[in-house]
Symmetry: C2
Subunit: 500 residues, 2 copies
């Protein structure tokens, strides 16, 4: 035996398994055989004295030579691995906190300590994806009690970084189950910061949609700020709109959400804990939660919304923050642009009080801003809505928006992509239905959100009267090839916009 007792040489394979640590070993490797390792086993791998638990995948031939092993990108990075490093292996017992999940399967309630151990182990990367799936399922549906939701929220808060502000009141807003083009955030932040309240807003990038708020903001300003930079911006301008991914607030959530999405499972308790833990970690004291209700929205009936509202209020109270839940119309998308830059243009046209600005985006932003103002301020001589309208109409909100952009690193005007296709009405009539899901797919085929200027610009909202040949929407793309992909798809589908 020339190979050492228990080490192999690492080669870089470049396989991205997201957060899950994976180790690749040959089927005929003497370590697999002698240790009795089999595919899907959890194995403790050690590189230069640093250890991580990884899931084992077996390679039959091809990409590894005898004596070699590989790692997924996440494990490669976390272990600071270099090509040719020695890697050693040992058996690992199933992670201890999984016991609580098994107990939960038998109906036992999870206490705070158990939940904290589970969340800490998940953040440390000690759970495989199937173990995370078991946690999500065991705590899914309506199976978490109020006490468990409170425990989970606390555990998620303490597992990551926390922001703190020298302010008695710090506000925030959150939308549960966003609609396409629902870019109220920059407008609300501008109004609220101009009003004088502290609103340090973090947003996320798109995962499956054509644009996240962060993607849209990035077409206008710098959004990946450090905590120190965020604190400077907020001190100076009362508010910010930055990407949450560069600071680790409630990091368990980012891990859970990938598996939840893959399972298409979203437990109520976990959703409440996920939203509130991020707000608490961001230092908020007052939070407005927007629940759009509609047949294609996440929440479909007022009854479901009432249940969520109850949970948000009870858990918020237990965690010491004020929560105000709003129900809004979730039956159609907000704004006209679909894609990062196109949605940014909607935002700017509302802030600039342009005559043809999308009124739905304007009204919804005012409603949310008003609700924050009234929650904190009470209604004195003017209503929250009056105050919000004055700040927006007077140009104060726009000035504040530009000031925040300057503080974050400067403002730039969002641009249209160079290639464009007008999609025209083939008959006359009234627009009675718009298929948002397929419009979003066209925007993605055209390149959004990867190509920030690509997307779809809707010209004819619901109830518009159109003539044959009128432009219904424009597709924008940064390359001819992508424009062709989106047109091919568009032509293969019928009645994306229904005219009757």
């Amino acid at each position: 035996m020339n190979t050492p007792f228990n080490t192999l040489k690492l080669v870089h394979l470049g396989i991205d398994t997201q957060r899950e640590h994976v180790v690749f070993m040959r089927k005929d490797c003497h370590i697999c055989i002698s240790e009795g390792f089999e595919a899907l086993n959890r194995v403790l791998v050690t590189v230069k004295g640093k250890s991580k638990i990884a899931t084992l995948y077996i390679i039959n031939d091809g990409i590894l030579n005898p004596g070699e092993a590989g790692l997924s990108e996440s494990a490669w990075g976390d272990l600071n691995a270099k090509e040719g490093d020695e890697i050693s292996f040992s058996h690992v017992q199933p992670v201890n906190s999984m016991r609580s999940i098994r107990a939960k399967m038998y109906g036992q309630e999870l206490n705070y300590e158990s939940l904290q151990n589970i969340i800490n182990d998940i953040v440390k990367g000690e759970y495989s994806n199937i173990e995370i799936a078991a946690f999500i399922t065991a705590c899914g549906g309506d199976s978490l009690s109020i006490d468990e939701i409170i425990g989970l929220t606390k555990a998620m808060v303490v597992s990551g970084q926390r922001l703190s502000w020298n302010k008695k009141i710090v506000v925030d807003k959150h939308c549960v189950g966003g609609l396409p083009g629902n870019r109220t955030t920059p407008i609300v932040v501008a109004i609220i910061a101009a009003f004088g309240l502290t609103i340090p807003k973090t947003s996320s990038r798109a995962i499956t949609s054509p644009a996240g708020t962060a993607d849209s903001l990035e077409t206008m300003t710098k959004i990946d700020l450090s905590i120190k930079q965020i604190q400077k911006v907020v001190e100076q301008e009362n508010g910010c709109f930055v990407w949450g991914g560069s600071i680790k607030l409630s990091p368990a959530d980012d891990i859970l959400i990938r598996v939840e999405r893959a399972l298409d499972v979203d437990g109520e308790g976990q959703m409440i804990a996920s939203v509130l833990s991020k707000k608490i970690a961001a230092g908020s004291t007052h939070v407005v939660i927007d629940i759009p209700i509609g047949k294609t929205a996440k929440v479909r009936t007022e009854k479901d919304a009432e249940k969520l509202k109850y949970y948000f209020n009870v858990v918020g109270k237990a965690m010491g923050i004020n929560v105000n839940v709003l129900f809004t119309d979730g039956s159609q998308p907000i704004g006209r642009g679909i894609g990062p830059a196109l949605e940014a243009m909607d935002v700017l046209s509302v802030l600039r009080n342009e005559k043809d600005a999308p009124q739905d985006l304007r009204n919804k932003s005012l409603l949310l801003a008003a609700s924050i103002i009234e929650m904190v301020n009470g209604t004195k001589n003017k209503s929250g809505l009056q105050l919000a309208k004055e700040i927006l109409s007077s140009g104060e909100a726009y000035a504040k928006f530009m000031a925040i952009c300057q503080a974050q690193g400067g403002f730039k005007e969002p641009e249209f992509a160079p290639y464009k296709e007008d999609v025209k009405a083939e008959k006359s009539g009234i627009v009675t239905e718009i298929d948002n899901r397929r419009l979003a797919k066209i925007a993605k085929l055209a390149g959004a959100p990867h190509d920030s200027k690509a997307g779809v610009l809707l010209k004819t909202p619901l109830n518009t009267k159109v003539q044959t040949g009128d432009v219904l929407y424009c597709i924008y793309s940064e390359t001819k090839g992508e424009l062709k992909y989106s047109i091919d798809y568009m032509k293969s589908e019928e009645d994306i916009i229904l005219i009757q």
Copy 2:
């Protein structure tokens, strides 16, 4: 754009992800970008007109060139893929039957139709591992009702092949949570077949242990028989002992068990359905279930065993088969050998009525055979135990064992591996404890079950009086290197056999 609209060229990567179909694509691949695919997405892949759902893994660089994609071994095989084949991709909705699992998370009971859809989709390979984990968790613990267990059992039976026999009575036995070295099967089959009952026994290979019954039998005869061959053997000799892996009885079980093991989760309802579905698919009418109770066994208390017994009886009755549940001593291993050939030697020494045959293995085999005989025959003038003893002591069982081996393809004598190390007592006293888990690890490091002659032979069972220098156990290995691995490990551990 020179690359086609929606196809890539396949390259063979040789990555074995077990049953889960996985597709590997480059991060910068135009299809990933335009379709918005992300890691862990389920994607419909099509090769030469044949489609399968696969989980997407993203490759950053290294093993795929632009325009190429790879598949896991299972998907490669199921799609009959060849190097250079074109592969195309499309989005896929989450598999429909997952809806029932989500409903179960909200407390809804699963009816037979839902369970059948889930099991069929799992057998077709349409579930990702995380979806299987969600199913196992949602139905885990004690969350399945009797009706659900019955529905699951039926669904598992109809999802695979079934054996049928022209006999009114077909018997079988099963042990829940086997102990190391618990090789009663060949002895019981020999006694029962000699008695004249039909017993078509299928066994499994080791997954994590040093030997499965099938591995042990393989050191003596051919065990991978076709259904046709099995039927011929049983017609001629009343019984067989073959590997269950080559015939597809209750194939869902083999898929579920991998994920259950990785999660270390074993729901009661699923266990009942798993055991009974295999017996029913094998055509059994009378089944003896052996539940060893002990602190290192799967079932730890009589109370837990009683609950399982109740379920086995009720579900068995609903499925139209007779079940007899036995509780046995699970506090120490049965026999002396650990490893395929060494365990086969124990079996032969009992069948040959050798003076130093392991009495625990002999007694337990007699007990199980007696229980089968009494279940079918009732007690006439002789007890089942008397009958079983006579058949074994007279050599009839041994003759039947040899006849079955001949019918299966011939008998060969199991052999010791060439390299051996005696592990000796370092002090005098009484053996008070034996750590089976660590003895099994030594056997595996020595090469078992891969090297069938390797393993551990225990010389001093519990309560043996030993002198300093007496041999406690021998390690057998087929290579010097593996012998060294096992000795290195043995030396690094203390009190594997405790002498006081």
